[in-house]
Symmetry: C2
Subunit: 144 residues, 2 copies
DNA sequence: TATTGTTATACTCTATAACTATA
DNA sequence: TATAGTTATAGAGTATAACAATA
C-alpha cells in the first residue's frame, strides 16, 4: 500500500496539532479563543460582512453573532451598516483591535520560531513552497 | 527583516487550519468533536491514565473527566482501575471504539488526499521529512 | 502532604429554529 | 421569495475551586 503517503498524513496531522497548540497558547495569552484569534487575524487588513466571515470560518451566522458580540463588548471590533446592502452588517477592527492583531502576529511568530528555527534558509523556502502547493486553492472557502 | 521566515509561518498556519478543517469534518461525520477524535486516535493503540491523557492534550483533569464521561456513555471507551495505583483510572477503547478509530483513520486519509495527492512521490518524501524536522521532540508534551 | 480523579459552577463555542428587515 | 442578521435555546468544551480517596 501507499506507505509513503501514510507517513506524510501522520506528519501533517501532527505538525498541525503542534501548530494549533502554539496558536491556542498565543490566543490564551491575550484572553482569546482560537476562533477569536482567527477573526482578529482575518480582519487585520479587511472589512467583511458577518456572513462572509461565517462562510470563511465554516460557522453558522448565529455563531458569528455571538463571537462578534463578545469581541465588540471588549472593544476589539465594531459593527457598521453596509453601504451597499441595507440588510448587511460590516465588521472591522477598532484601533485597539488593530494593535491587538499586531501583538498577536508577533506572538505567533515567536511561538512558532522554535519549530521553524531549526531549518536552514533553503529548507524554509522548500517547506513553504510545498505547504503552499498542498493548500489547494479550490475546495477551501475563499475570502471575497 | 526575515522575509523568508515570515512566509513560512503564514504557510504553516494556513496549512494547519486547512488540515484542522478536514479533521473537524471527519470528526463531525462520526458525531465527534475534534478533541474526541484526538482521544480516540491516541487510545487506538494505547491504554492511558486520565491524567496522562489530560497532560498530553493540554487539558485540565476535570475537562478530561467530562470528555471521558460522554465517550463512555456512547460505548466508545471504558474506565478501568489502574493495576499499580489505587488512585488512578485507566482508559481504553471498547471493540466498538477500536472499529471507530479504524474508520476515522481511513476517513482522515481520504479527506487529506486532495491536499497531498498533488505531490509527486519525491515531494511527499521531502515534505514529510521537513515536517518531522520541525516537530521538535523537546517542548511538546510526550506520551508515557 | 501530595497526587488522582470527580463534582459543582460558570462561561465560551456551536448548531438549530424562529424571527425581523431588506432585496 | 430569498437573503442578512439577531435572538432563544440547548449541548459540548473548557477552566477554577472544592472535595474524597490513595500514595
Amino acid at each position: 500500500m501507499d506507505r509513503e503517503g501514510y507517513g506524510l498524513v501522520d506528519a501533517l496531522v501532527q505538525a498541525s496539532f503542534t501548530t494549533m497548540a502554539v496558536l491556542n497558547k498565543a490566543a490564551a495569552d491575550h484572553d482569546l479563543s482560537l476562533t477569536q484569534l482567527r477573526v482578529v487575524g482575518i480582519l487585520a487588513d479587511r472589512r467583511l460582512r458577518v456572513s462572509d466571515l461565517a462562510a470563511y470560518l465554516g460557522l453558522e451566522k448565529s455563531t458569528m453573532s455571538g463571537l462578534i458580540d463578545r469581541a465588540e463588548k471588549r472593544g476589539i471590533l465594531t459593527r457598521l451598516p453596509s453601504e451597499t446592502d441595507g440588510r448587511a452588517v460590516d465588521v472591522t477592527l477598532t484601533p485597539a483591535g488593530r494593535a491587538l492583531a499586531d501583538r498577536i502576529h508577533a506572538r505567533v511568530r515567536a511561538g512558532l520560531s522554535p519549530m521553524t528555527g531549526g531549518l536552514t534558509a533553503a529548507e524554509k523556502t522548500r517547506l513553504r513552497g510545498l505547504l503552499e502547493k498542498i493548500l489547494m486553492p479550490n475546495g477551501s472557502p475563499r475570502l471575497p
